[in-house]
């Protein structure tokens, strides 16, 4: 019985949480929502830092909470990364890393050396936390959570307290975690960009309730969801680098149903990549025509939905087995006679490669 089976109900003044979720036992699951949506509270309930009066939690078939059972936090095989790194100020970086490791009675799945190497903190081990930058602190916080060899890694907006530059510094490490460690991760975030880069599975929350949950690409492409992504609405494609064009500094990424050209970022052929295509960068045409847009795909209109602005529509287009979202004005949709089932040319103006 792999996976997480979580059901919590709690009532606080001005906030209530009511969720019943089944989550996969592998990969990265993003708990996504705006502040106040209950995503952090849900994570704290799973960690045992918060005790929902009515709740049931089973992880990989092991019961952590129900009416007659409560496993306290320190006996749950979890790792937890807080929003602020919250390092122990009285210990060095090494002391922080060893604190949990010494107390862990389970099998060592992640060695300390591996955690230090993964997060690139080997040169910081003798320092006290107040001598670290924000990004370094958070990397130590992540390594500390890994060093207890968790069976489940919980991350509460680990990047939210950092500026853009520090975020860029840490994201590659998080992606390495994803690629190298076989530990399921619950990742709380309000950033569509982080979710697109890191998640395999998405739980969208609002007002303490779950709006939707499912595999990332599928869930993001749903038009019936009131996920207010706004400018960040878009589709995710998983693909492989199939060709590098040195002359024009472009790479071709093949995905299920077609291929797209993207700017060369030094990736080699055969590399698995994730591609993010924002709805605002996709337009539809009835003729292929001649334009500056290089990425033109053949697709079929699958569904048409409302966007946030009454003048805009979100159109879901099937390209082979994959889907893309396009944002059009409703007038353009009417002029092109876009209806469900109609074949169309899909022009993709810009593609973001997420390694």
């Amino acid at each position: 019985m792999a996976g997480i089976d979580a059901c919590f109900r709690l009532d606080w003044p001005g906030f209530s949480l009511d969720v019943d979720l089944k989550l996969p036992g592998r990969g990265v699951t993003a708990l996504f929502g705006h502040s106040g949506s209950g995503k952090t509270t849900l994570l704290r309930c799973i960690a045992g830092l918060e005790r929902a009066p009515q709740g049931r939690l089973a992880v990989d078939g092991e019961l952590w909470q129900d009416a007659g059972r409560w496993v306290p936090t320190h006996k749950r095989p979890i790792g937890y990364v807080f929003q602020e790194a919250s390092l122990f100020a009285h210990l060095t970086v090494m002391g922080n890393l060893r604190y949990g490791m010494k107390r862990n009675s389970e099998a060592q799945r992640v060695s300390l050396d591996h955690a230090i190497e993964l997060l690139g903190i080997g040169h910081l081990l003798d320092r006290k936390p107040d001598r670290l930058s924000g990004g370094e602190r958070q990397r130590v916080g992540i390594a500390r959570a890994l060093a207890v060899s968790p069976r489940l890694l919980l991350m509460d907006e680990p990047l939210a307290a950092l500026d853009l530059k520090r975020k860029q510094e840490i994201l590659p490490y998080l992606e390495r975690l994803h690629d190298e460690l076989d530990i399921p991760v619950l990742y709380v975030s309000h950033s569509p960009d982080e979710v697109a880069r890191l998640a395999d599975y998405l739980v969208a929350m609002e007002g303490g309730r779950v709006l939707a949950s499912g595999p990332l690409a599928e869930t993001l492409a749903r038009l019936d969801l009131p996920i207010r992504l706004g400018e960040d609405a878009g589709a995710i494609l998983d693909g492989t680098v199939s060709e590098v064009d040195r002359k024009w500094h472009l790479v071709r990424v093949d995905f299920d149903g077609g291929s797209l050209w993207a700017r060369d970022q030094g990736l080699s052929v055969g590399r698995r990549v994730r591609v993010r295509v924002l709805a605002r960068d996709v337009s539809l045409a009835s003729e292929p025509g001649v334009s500056s847009i290089q990425n033109v795909l053949r697709g079929k209109v699958d569904a048409i939905g409302d966007d946030e602005h009454p003048g805009l529509a979100l159109v879901r287009v099937q390209v082979g087995p994959s889907v893309l979202l396009a944002r059009l004005t409703k007038r353009a949709a009417a002029a092109l006679a876009i209806i469900q089932g109609r074949d169309t040319w899909v022009q993709v103006k810009s593609v973001a490669l997420l390694e």
Partner: protein, 225 residues
Amino acid sequence: MLTDSDLQALWLTVRLAGIVTLILLLVGTPIAWWLARTKTWWKGPIGAVVALPLVLPPSVLGFYLLLAMGPNGPVGQLTQALGIGPLPFTFWGLVIASVFYSLPFMVQPLQTAFEAVGDRPLEVAATLRASPLDAFFTVAVPLAAPGFLTASILTFAHTVGEFGVVLMIGGNLPGATRVASVQIYDHVEALEYMQAHRLAAVMLLFSFLVLLALYAWRPNPKKGG
């Protein structure tokens, strides 16, 4: 210079203050921890009781303690039943009275220090497999270390400075209850102004050095990691 009885009084004072500080570290720490962490309704009343010695005249506190520890008081009957005998006018009676008298000087700085540590480091410790007791000793106590230092210095110094409670409970027995403050009083009563001057100067210097240590050595508030 100081006479033998002056030195005896000073040594007694230091011994009393040291023992009281040690006892209060053991007794005051759990009280401070509880006050810092509890969310119950009891926090207010218990906090007020702990603070009472701050405002009560020492003679009032001494009076009640004398009644309680006297042969007919509840504590006195208990100690007699245990074969210890009545506590008033003994060194240990003075220790117990001083523990009450100096309680807020231990509890309040510790409570402030524990509150400043906050919930987060303890939550972190729990996610790193530390039981609550483990987390208390390995996280809360080290992070509150400056508070322990302040509380101990204040408690020690405050016990050295007591007078009213000593007179009520301890009386004036050389080597047992005649502490420095009482010794000075005796000197003045006997018009031995020179002796009083010397001992008073020692006390003044001691008090100044303690407060200097407290105010001059202020570690920077620890930056959260």
